[in-house]
């Protein structure tokens, strides 16, 4: 954290400063919505390696980062992109080819783990997953855990309720806090100092943001300081948590950004097709990621017609009657 008045950076500098080889990274967003895609693409371009990645149900961002060869370890609840990929394709390939070590939690557990980090407590309790393989099967062995200062010694633990029977509870599962080196979230509005406003569902972005040692915010709209303070009931992340503010219009594309644009079904379908084939996927990386220098280059490839088609309707916040077949 820092309290500077101006934290605005370009994306290249922000990623280069905070996202290092072997860092522990957490990505905001959910399946095909508000993934920090411009940041994901920049990480791929910078060829960052061996990232230890955390997400609950970030679909597209996680899949592209894995496909980009950046990820060695993943703690996750869900790797899917809705109807476009019921299981994320490069994620699945990487697991099946033993290129990626995965540890599974539930969505609530991952969210609680971020919340624990944000709250500064080592764990939080829940009543989920008792009797299941979420408890019994660990992705990372106790030995591997002990070699890393950034991982707790146990995946989770089951404890008897110390307030015997209180709230009709005999046992709880304790899940350990996550404290990522860096979290990246994409928001609709941010000011230069870092105050953030998310429109629509916040998913677990605020918790992921506050749990991290460093926070990069990419935003659709950048405001002068104090402009977002006039209606601060709507702000979810105060500037004290923020290290870098990056202005990236369409920074969540091809995923959606409520009240700005919808997900792009064409892009997501084309991606799914290419991701299934190593050669096609290699071409995709070369052309769409390494072949672009910025998110704006990528948007230019999509073209103004499709960008207009996915533009959000001001009333509903999504693109009405968009062809999503």
């Amino acid at each position: 954290m820092n309290l500077k008045q101006d934290k605005v950076m370009d994306l290249t500098t922000a990623i280069n400063t905070y996202v290092k080889d072997r860092c522990h990274l957490s990505l905001g967003g959910f399946t095909i919505n508000r993934n920090p895609m411009a940041a994901v693409y920049e990480i791929i371009r910078q060829r960052v390696k061996n990232i230890h990645l955390y997400a609950h149900s970030n679909g597209q961002g996680v899949d592209e980062l894995i496909g980009g060869g950046c990820v060695s370890h993943l703690e996750i609840a869900y790797g899917g992109s809705g109807k476009f990929a019921s299981t994320c394709i490069r994620f699945r390939k990487a697991v099946e080819e033993n290129l990626l070590q995965v540890e599974d939690y539930t969505n609530y557990q991952m969210t609680l783990r971020f919340l624990a980090g944000a709250m500064g407590v080592p764990f939080l309790p829940c009543r989920s997953s008792m009797g299941t393989d979420i408890v019994n099967k660990w992705g990372f062995s106790q030995e591997m855990r002990k070699t890393s200062k950034k991982l707790p010694d146990d995946k989770l633990t089951i404890m008897d309720n110390p307030f015997s029977g209180w709230l009709d509870t005999e046992k709880v599962v304790l899940v350990p806090a996550i404290q990522p080196d860096v979290t990246i979230v994409h928001v609709q509005k941010a000011d230069k100092r870092g105050n953030c406003r998310i429109q629509g569902l916040t998913f677990a972005d605020a918790e992921q943001a506050k749990a991290a040692k460093h926070l990069i915010v990419t935003c659709e709209e950048l405001y002068d300081n104090d402009e977002l303070k006039t209606d601060s009931d709507q702000n979810q992340i105060p500037f004290i948590h923020v290290d870098a503010v990056v202005h990236v219009p369409h920074g969540a594309y091809p995923t959606a950004c409520y009240h700005h644009y919808d997900y792009d079904p064409n892009y997501l379908k084309a991606y799914a097709k290419k991701a299934k084939d190593d050669t096609l996927h290699g071409e995709y990386l070369k052309e769409m990621i390494h072949g672009c220098q910025t998110q704006q280059d990528l948007i230019a490839k999509t073209g103004p017609e499709q960008m207009a088609a996915i533009a959000a309707d001001p009333q509903t916040g999504y693109a009405r009657n968009l062809d999503r077949k």
């Binding site: 790797g79 109807k83 476009f84 033993n98 009543r127 629509g200 569902l201 077949k325």
Partner: protein, 254 residues
């Protein structure tokens, strides 16, 4: 009136939903079932999503629970903490019906949506729990959608992602889970329910044109078929409302 299997499945699930139910739904047919209930037989039911949206006005069908369409005209746009707390909450949670899908189910209604093969080096990797295990852990009733195939109705799950009755009638209690468990499994061939005493799956209904034997052929384990009856097909009114009100763009139904 003619209908597809998908329509039969969606309507069968919708009929299980009542006014005063809060319906947790995922992507695809489960979302369609929840919308069908609301538009056909349970207008007072409330649709909600693990992403944090409550009582969304679904003018178009969402293609993911993170679809911006779930954010429109909600009671509140919270986050994952809010939605799971609603289900774990001792008061509101008791009104939630979960709708789930999976890659495998066993006779006690436990689900696998994680891997086929070893967890450490799986033959097939699926999406993982998402909120599925949470819902199955927290809520008193759930509805499961499955395709009837031998590799899906298995004696032993490769990975137990979401708890049904675990190893039997006392399974949930012994594990420390909140009372609950699946009420029924709706497939492309019929409907399975769970015996009140043994908590084991039995065949409750088969679709017109399907026999109990055909269903047993598609399962690795055997179930009681003595209680099975022919299912009631969707009515013309149900089908019309489903097609016109729930998925007029035919994104799931087609």
């Amino acid at each position: 009136m003619e209908y597809t299997l998908k329509e039969m499945m969606a309507i069968t699930a919708a009929r299980e939903i009542k006014n005063e139910d809060i319906v947790f739904c995922g992507t695809g047919i489960s979302m369609l079932a929840a919308m069908a209930a609301k538009n056909i037989n349970a207008p007072e039911s409330v649709i909600f999503f693990e992403t944090g949206a409550i009582d969304s006005k679904l003018e178009e069908i969402p293609l993911a629970v993170g679809d911006p369409r779930v954010m429109y005209h909600t009671s509140a746009n919270g986050g994952l903490l809010d939605s799971f707390a609603t289900m774990q909450n001792a008061i509101t949670g008791q009104h939630v019906v979960g709708i789930l899908g999976a890659a495998q189910v066993d006779k006690f209604g436990n689900l696998n949506s994680t891997v086929i093969g070893d967890y450490e080096s799986p033959k097939i990797r699926f999406s993982g729990s998402g909120g599925g295990c949470d819902v199955a852990s927290f809520v008193p009733r759930s509805i499961i959608f499955m395709q009837h195939e031998k590799r899906k109705f298995v004696k032993k799950l490769d990975y137990l992602t979401s708890p049904g009755y675990l190893d039997g009638p006392d399974g949930r209690k012994n594990a420390g889970l909140i009372p609950g468990g699946p009420e029924l499994v709706i497939t492309n061939m019929g409907v399975m329910r769970f015996d009140d005493t043994t908590k084991q799956m039995y065949l409750a209904a088969f679709y017109p044109g399907i026999t109990p034997e055909q269903i047993l052929d598609k399962m690795e384990f055997s179930v009681d078929t003595s209680r099975a009856e022919e299912a009631t097909p969707p009515t013309a009114e149900e089908l019309t409302l489903l097609r016109e009100k729930c998925d007029h763009q035919r994104l799931i139904l087609s």
